[in-house]
Symmetry: C2
Subunit: 344 residues, 2 copies
């Protein structure tokens, strides 16, 4: 990217509207609304003191939780992680799947809220955060996600499984004990359908996979043997990061346990860099994968990745109205800052 | 809606997935995640004490603001409202419009960030909120929006104008002095294109306008001669409200000043009910209208409305990943609660 400024930034100094060819979304990059990218710090950092107490997710409190699906290691009271049912599930596993109760007179379209909603307790200890775990332990959490997806795939009615993590109250977490969630849905959700359509269009036009193509020097943060971390070219949020497998692969659940450890190492690095640079911000991560069911085969245009979003800005009226986002930090600048963070 | 429960709620007791046929969005309604709808209260109410100080938007501080576009009444130091340029505009009015700087080698699509970004100062007095104004004064604010849209329409490059308001820090407001914003965009934003497409599909299938059809007894809050307030059937957010003109009309900017006063009255009522019932929550409102330019004519399927969203819940990993939303409050229940709020 050429620049007319004398700063060490490689990013332009007038606003740009960039197209995210993976999500089919326009994002406004606005230098007038930016502080220097190195000044971005969370105003609501995670307070480690909050994390002293005991909760239902702590070891020894299993009886306060909804039923367990599996634990690692199995049948061991001294577990390292547990996958359990969500006590307040958004969807119900106990009602008929996708029965349409469409009232055609009124034009109202309704489907039964069938689905699965699980919680992954990532550590037995209340004060431990995901980034405190070793690469091997983070790998075990990721393998628990893939194992649960494979179980859920056996239900014909499940079309998509969303794995996500909320960390910190302003990123939506109601429980501070380190956990992630797994929701299995009877429909392909709109953002996934849009993403698949957009990646297919890119492939039809260029013969290339849009996610493979996101790898570029100015956007790179770190690399390992089979994965890279980048700031995407049209990042929706300031300091949004993606971890992408270098080998083209459509489905997250096909990750093997050896690569899961490597991915765990790169995720740990990204989380530690984010925490050091941005003042331990609340964050979300989302696995962006491909639909299941009939569409579960390898697709040339669809490539899974992990999306990590620190919670630094508020989505407000403009974004709610238009679906366009305003990002004050150019991705090249964010990538440079993150590349250079020293992790001891 | 039939109900098997013995409560006075008309809403069902198992989760439902409803389709919003205006926004083409699936929303999960989850009774397991709900408190009683009458228990919903903001945890971060707007603090009226915050509103004591002086700021650049206050009368007498005009020199601290970016240039004025117009004021009401004109040329009067004792103004009632001002429309000014945004000091930190997300888009720039000083660069060429929509020049594509697409680098086809890299597959990266970029457009110049041309556009207009204005602020409407809704009152000269720091401590006055929009809902404190009279229906006539709120009408004047709405007329200022329409007048500015008509000015912006004269630029051929402007395809859509988004009017929105952020009120309260957790709804994104960085200024507490009552204001709204107007952003004029060189592209039709994705959520608008999706909404138009969805309304057109509904019209092609049923011969009816999906917004006209949203009017139903169980979802109604209040009515005036030419407007209704409702909770939409597939509300994305708890206690989301729409104000809809009863006469089918595509463009907000065609609102006349007499109807603006009536709309001001209904908006005031909705805001006061929201404030009383939900503990003066932060909120956003968005004008949902139709594109300009070539498409500025009256469309049989497109119908403008005002969307009002109290800030009660956090958008987290699931919503970011899927574009599906979880709403713990059934719209019939929210409408009933809001219908019954007594405003003195
Ligand atoms: N004893 C117990 N046994 C089993 N499960 C238990 C439990 N106690 C609590 N839980 C469940 O544990 C989960 C913890 O999840 P998070 O803290 O990540 O966010 P939550 O789902 O509450 O909402 C956030 O994420 C969702 C989805 O993105 C958003 O809709 C919402 O606004 C945001 O706050 C909750 O879903 C809760 O129901
Ligand atoms: N002296 C002055 N003269 C003229 N203008 C002045 C000014 N001082 C401040 N301003 C402008 O006034 C506006 C006030 O707007 P709001 O408080 O509604 O939210 P803001 O745009 O900051 O961001 C919120 O809304 C946007 C859009 O939805 C989100 O991207 C963002 O995250 C959220 O916090 C700001 O845009 C600011 O630039």
């Amino acid at each position: 990217m050429a620049s007319s400024s004398s700063s060490d930034s490689s990013a332009p100094q007038t606003p740009q509207i960039r197209k995210d060819s993976v999500k089919n979304r326009w994002v406004i990059f606005s230098p007038a609304r930016a502080k220097r990218p190195s000044d971005f710090k969370s105003k609501t950092p995670i307070n480690p003191n909050q994390q002293q107490q005991q909760c239902p997710f702590c070891i020894g409190h299993e009886h306060e939780c909804a039923p367990e699906i599996f634990r690692v290691p199995p049948d061991n009271p001294d577990w390292k992680l547990r996958v359990i049912q969500n006590l307040y599930p958004a969807l119900s596993r106990d009602i008929p799947a996708a029965e349409e109760v469409n009232n055609s007179d009124s034009g109202r379209v309704v489907v039964n809220g069938f689905g699965f909603h699980d919680v992954v307790i990532e550590t037995p200890v209340h004060s431990v955060q995901l980034s405190d775990l070793s690469p091997r332990e983070i790998g075990e959490v990721l393998v628990a996600h893939t194992r649960r997806i494979k179980q859920l795939m056996s239900s014909d009615s499940i079309k998509y499984v969303q794995v996500f993590k909320n960390h910190g109250a302003s990123a939506g977490a109601s429980m501070s004990h380190s956990h992630s969630q797994i929701m299995a849905l009877p429909v392909v959700p709109p953002a996934v359908a849009t993403r698949l359509g957009s990646m297919k269009e890119y492939f039809d036009q260029t013969g290339k996979c849009s996610v493979c193509e996101s790898n570029s020097k100015d956007l790179l943060i770190d690399v390992s043997a089979h994965f890279i971390s980048i700031v995407p070219f049209a990042a929706t949020f300031p300091f949004e990061m993606w971890i992408i497998p270098l080998d083209h692969s459509s489905h997250f659940h096909e990750l093997d346990s050896e690569k899961a450890v490597e991915l765990g190492g790169l995720l740990k690095l990204v989380l530690r860099k984010m925490s050091l640079q941005l003042n331990n911000p609340p964050f979300n991560f989302m696995v962006q994968t491909s639909p299941l069911g009939d569409n579960a085969s390898q697709l040339p245009y669809s490539h899974w990745f992990l999306q990590i979003v620190p919670q630094l800005s508020v989505v407000a009226g403009f974004e709610m109205g238009t679906g366009c986002y305003i990002n004050p930090v150019f991705p090249e600048d964010a990538a440079k800052v993150l590349r250079e963070v020293k992790v001891s």
